[in-house]
Subunit: 148 residues, 2 copies
DNA sequence: ACTCGTGTTTGGTTGTTATCCAACAGTTCG
DNA sequence: CGAACTGTTGGATAACAACCAAACACGAGT
């Protein structure tokens, strides 16, 4: 029972596409949305859905497999590895801290007051939480361009 | 009177170094820390301080000049362009929204509750605000590795 | 067997990123 | 002038990212 995934690529971020895909699978596993044994999109399927080259997905999946997070099975598909485990709350915090730090650096350089930063973050969180469209739509994966 | 800058490179972010440098100069100008006419580090000086190749700084400066944010003057140095202006509060919010969105995506994928996200953001903001060491140190630019 | 969807592999092309080295040229000051 | 800064330019190398295309191999179903 693979859950609905919502992978989001930002072309203008400068971050390699395969890295973005890797990161987001990691987050899904870290948060327990994706659990051991769950099937994830096939290489061709994901490549098609995200409009990227299949070899790019291959690279992401290969790296994820090398790190032990997923398993590719010839002829069957790709699955979350049996021993892949969700992060503890502490680990999740540390994982999120990287992005939070980047945000903090930018905000500080712009001399933006903390309350305003918090407001923006709240808004973005809210935007995603309310974005539960596609929940019972017959689409497994939604591609959302960078939003800009 | 160029203010003290605190440029921070994260090698593991996947974002090209010259892009990181560009972004941070943009933020400093956006927030009014860097103002028109202010001198910014020379190419060689910045390259040395951040331990990157001078040509990498050249690329960043050239792009920034092309976008009208700075000016390079042969033999004299690099300066914030006369017509470079700080962002309005609304523009600052929009600029920060990009990073905030990325943070929100990750948090959501990890199913992290909003309050916990806010807490982490607050902590990182606080860490930078208290990090005023090097304020009156005879160093113009501090290099801070990705922090991890 | 056949077919379809799966992962696998190979080779090539294109463009980007970043490095290193070297030389040239403008500015300022002693 | 000469020294010490500055930006400018060119060539070369290496690694990486992403694309494209074609073929090969495994699994499950008909």
């Amino acid at each position: 029972m693979p859950p609905k995934l919502h992978l989001q690529l930002d072309e203008r971020s400068g971050v390699p596409v395969y890295r973005q895909m890797m990161d987001q699978f990691k987050y899904y596993v870290a948060g327990g949305v994706l659990r051991p044994g769950d099937q994830i999109p096939s290489i061709r399927e994901l490549a098609s859905a995200l409009q990227v080259n299949p070899t790019t997905v291959v690279k992401a999946y290969t790296e994820l497999e090398r790190s032990g997070l997923i398993e590719k099975r010839h002829g069957k598909g790709a699955f979350v590895a049996p021993n892949a485990r969700a992060f503890t709350q502490l680990e999740q915090e540390e994982a999120l801290r990287r992005s939070a730090k980047q945000l903090a650096v930018e905000a500080t350089q712009m001399q933006m007051p903390a309350p305003k930063v918090i407001t923006v973050v709240r808004e973005e969180l809210g935007a995603l939480h309310s974005d539960r469209s596609g929940e019972d739509v017959p689409v497994k994966f939604a591609v959302v361009g960078g939003g800009a």
